[in-house]
């Protein structure tokens, strides 16, 4: 690309391109913007709202489970089924999947590559409104009958139960499109919009993680789309593909569903890993240890993710041979994941570590992902899984990965890039208090669930035997501590927005391109196209800016 670069002359044309992107605050400018930064911010508020909503449902679940005495029940069993389904569906489809790529990735990825925008800005806008449409359909499904199938919509229950299953499924279908559009955009951006000098191995690891995520989004989501369409047809026309009464096969639905939804698990975790790969070297002021191994391990996880779906189905009646193969392949995921963990830890070794909020969350991620990842290996072993399948052990495991890893990494990224996105610093002491509360609250909520599960407490049950009472109550108290942490977080983040711009361009002394431009960035990100000469994370030598023309 370098030889075909024409020098853009943004300076000559109207000074308004040099002002920060938040300058034009009118509602219309936000609703119709094609600026990746504004779209990232709109996505951010949307996913945070969904996180709040899903969180409220989570608190309701824990409240209901505080007591096993039916006379003290808050809700009936049917309502409970709807509440946990909404918690899962909202958190998965409306919060976690879009959270890091569409909100933070949208904002940061083009800047990291030295681009003015993503490859297809209008598609990006379309992606956002498709997301909003999907969210509205989901809300309609909730208020017109609700859904009690669990977020996995397993047949034949999902084709026979009452409620708005078809509508909720359609919402997931629409949200899938939004996810595909983001994925297409990121792949094209990474391939074609890198600044001169930005070779593949000069890209920050965040970009590698996003790229691997985008591959899964593009290749796996269409299979979910057709699965959900078939499910809708099944409900409306009684096609019978998944219905044993009509000669269909309900296990086929599980195969289809997990062919998407297991890769989707990596759509959720890879972006989290991507953020950690940025926060740790910056906050340790240390060159990344094993850059290429970490970059390739993201791609390796993406590839292996397509061939492990059967480990969700060890008890479904699939053949023992298939189970053994899926079990073996599942263990393979442990290798690239462990490579990443070792590299993050080695990166910190002898680094100059500063324990500000983003780093606190990154360290939390290492611990929680360690627990979540290793318990995943228990569940990947067939013999153990037969015992633990559909128990709270599984619930605890995936919450350690989804919430303890992905959501915590999202918080690391949120705190890391908040000054860049909004040009303001939040209150650091409050942030540290909230981080500690989140850590304590999270572990208090979910560690007991490992014990509950290994002792036989099944997931999705509305009630339980009296001997589980203590652990359930500890878990519920943990959810309150967690909620308190989030309330404090909301407090200091909103408070920071009331201030004038006070964030320096580079509060954490990072080296990637987003730290070399103003906070908040100007509309076109860069005054001139940057020319990249430095390695990423070259903390071993004095800082050499790639961006010129900044004041």
């Amino acid at each position: 690309m370098a030889d075909t670069v024409a020098t853009p002359k943004a300076h000559g044309h109207g000074e308004h391109h040099d002002v920060d992107y938040l300058h034009d605050g009118s509602l219309l400018s936000w609703m119709t913007t094609v600026d990746h930064k504004k779209l990232g911010v709109m996505y951010l508020w949307s996913v945070l709202f969904m996180f709040f909503l899903g969180g409220v449902f989570a608190l309701l679940i824990r409240m209901e489970l505080f007591s096993s005495d039916p006379s003290k029940a808050m809700m009936d069993a049917q309502t409970y089924n709807k509440v946990f389904t909404l918690h899962g569906a909202i958190m998965v489809f409306l919060f976690i999947i879009p959270s890091i790529p569409a909100a933070l990735g949208n904002f940061v990825l083009p800047i990291m590559l030295g681009a003015k925008d993503v490859a297809f800005p209008r598609l990006n806008l379309a992606s956002f409104w498709v997301y909003v449409t999907g969210a509205l359909i989901a809300v309609t499904a909730m208020v017109t009958g609700g859904v009690d199938t669990g977020w996995t919509f397993y047949t034949p229950y999902s084709t026979t139960t009452d409620g708005s299953v078809a509508l909720m499924t359609f919402a997931a279908f629409v949200l899938g499109f939004s996810s595909i559009l983001t994925g297409v955009n990121f792949i094209a951006t990474v391939h074609k919009l890198r600044a001169p000098g930005m070779g593949w191995f000069k890209m920050p690891l965040f970009v590698w993680g996003m790229y691997a995520t985008a591959i899964i989004q593009v290749l796996a989501t269409p299979v979910l789309a057709i699965t959900l369409l078939l499910l809708i047809m099944e409900r409306t026309f009684g096609v019978g593909v998944f219905d044993p009464k009509l000669g269909g096969d309900p296990v086929l639905f599980q195969h289809f569903f997990w062919f998407y939804s297991h890769p989707a698990v990596y759509i959720m975790i890879l972006p989290g890993m991507a953020i950690i790969s940025e926060v740790i070297p910056t906050m340790s002021q240390k060159t990344f240890f094993g850059y290429k191994a970490t970059a390739f391990s993201s791609v390796a996880i993406a590839i292996v993710s397509f061939v492990v779906w059967g480990h969700h189905m060890f008890t479904s009646g699939q053949s023992q041979l298939a189970g053994a193969i899926f079990s073996f392949l599942t263990f393979l995921v442990g290798i690239p994941s462990a490579i990443k963990v070792f590299n993050w830890i080695t990166t910190m070794y002898k680094g100059s570590i500063s324990l500000e909020a983003p780093m606190l969350y990154a360290l939390m991620f290492l611990i929680l992902f360690g627990i979540g990842g290793l318990t995943g290996l228990f569940l990947g072993a067939m013999s153990v899984d037969i015992h633990l399948h559909d128990t709270y052990f599984v619930v605890a495991h995936f919450h350690y990965v989804m919430m303890g890893s992905t959501a915590i990494a999202f918080l690391a990224g949120l705190h890391y890039w908040w000054p860049k996105m909004f040009g303001r610093m939040y209150n650091e002491s409050a942030a540290r208090i909230a981080a500690v509360l989140v850590f304590i609250g999270f572990n208090t909520t979910f560690l007991p669930q490992f014990l509950l599960g290994s002792r036989g407490m099944p997931r999705r049950y509305y009630n339980y035997l009296p001997e589980f009472t203590f652990l359930h109550q500890v878990s519920t108290v943990g959810s309150w501590i967690l909620a308190l942490g989030f309330i404090i977080m909301a407090g200091y983040l909103f408070a920071s927005l009331r201030k004038k711009f006070d964030a320096p361009a580079n509060p954490w002394h990072g080296r990637s391109l987003e730290w070399q431009i103003a906070s908040p960035p100007i509309t076109h990100n860069f005054h001139e196209v940057p020319v990249v000469t430095a390695e990423p994370y070259d903390y071993y030598r004095p800082f050499e800016p790639s961006v010129k023309g900044h004041h």
Binding site: T4, F120, I226, G240, G247
Partner: protein, 221 residues
């Protein structure tokens, strides 16, 4: 392009270049990559249906054979020819656009539209025949001619696959009409014909999927 193009309006800069691309070539390459990625998603989506269809065929082979006897091979073959011809006219339209031949581009696009419409007309007759005979998916199946009950599932797949494909034909016709109107306004030339090229790619995929659907559904035995 409309609102951003003033940023790009520097002397010799072409008006179609969007501001975040360094030059027209980069814009073209990026658009094409994006389209290929989209086509990959389409193939995977239909791929799910193909897998389900193949799996159920292996479970109920006699129902599949019985079911496919209700399909009219002649009509299917004519439709295959229609789509192949439409792909040819589409290739010619893209070529004409790349040579700045406006009149030819419009003519070939019109030809593509006519073949696509012919496809849908035949599909309409096929569908109404099935409706009339009660050859409908799943629980709506009310055919009285006998045969294995799983024919109901065969027709579930038949309508799902041809229906989704038909939807793609309709979307393709809308896209072709759109670029035809733009071609009439003289928006394309050898310097810029990306939309024609991309709609062409999409149309070939629609054709290709039918090339697989025809033998799968009509030529089972």
């Amino acid at each position: 392009m409309s609102s951003e193009s003033h940023v790009a309006g520097h002397g010799a800069e072409p008006s179609f270049r969007q501001h975040h691309f360094i030059n027209a070539e980069q814009q073209f390459d990026t658009s094409k990559l994006g389209m290929w990625l989209f086509l990959a998603t389409e193939i995977l989506m239909f791929g799910g249906l193909f897998v389900g269809y193949g799996l159920m065929q292996s479970v109920y082979p006699e129902a599949w054979v019985a079911g496919h006897h209700h399909l009219d091979r002649i009509m299917g073959a004519v439709n295959t020819v229609f789509l192949l011809c439409s792909s040819f006219t589409m290739v010619m339209a893209v070529h004409a656009a790349s040579q700045s031949e406006k009149a030819k581009t419009v003519r070939y696009l019109l030809g593509t539209l006519v073949f696509a419409a012919g496809f849908l007309v035949i599909k309409y007759f096929e569908y109404s025949h099935k409706f009339h005979d009660g050859l409908l998916p799943g629980t709506h199946f009310s055919y009285h001619g006998g045969g294995p009950p799983q024919q109901a599932m065969f027709f579930g797949f038949y309508f799902a696959m041809t229906g989704l494909h038909g939807f793609h034909v309709v979307v393709g016709m809308a896209l072709i009409t759109w670029i035809m109107l733009r071609a009439m306004r003289g928006e394309f030339s050898s310097a810029y014909y990306t939309p024609v090229d991309l709609v062409g790619l999409y149309w070939h995929l629609v054709d290709l999927i039918w090339i697989y659907l025809f033998p799968l559904l009509y030529l089972v035995s």
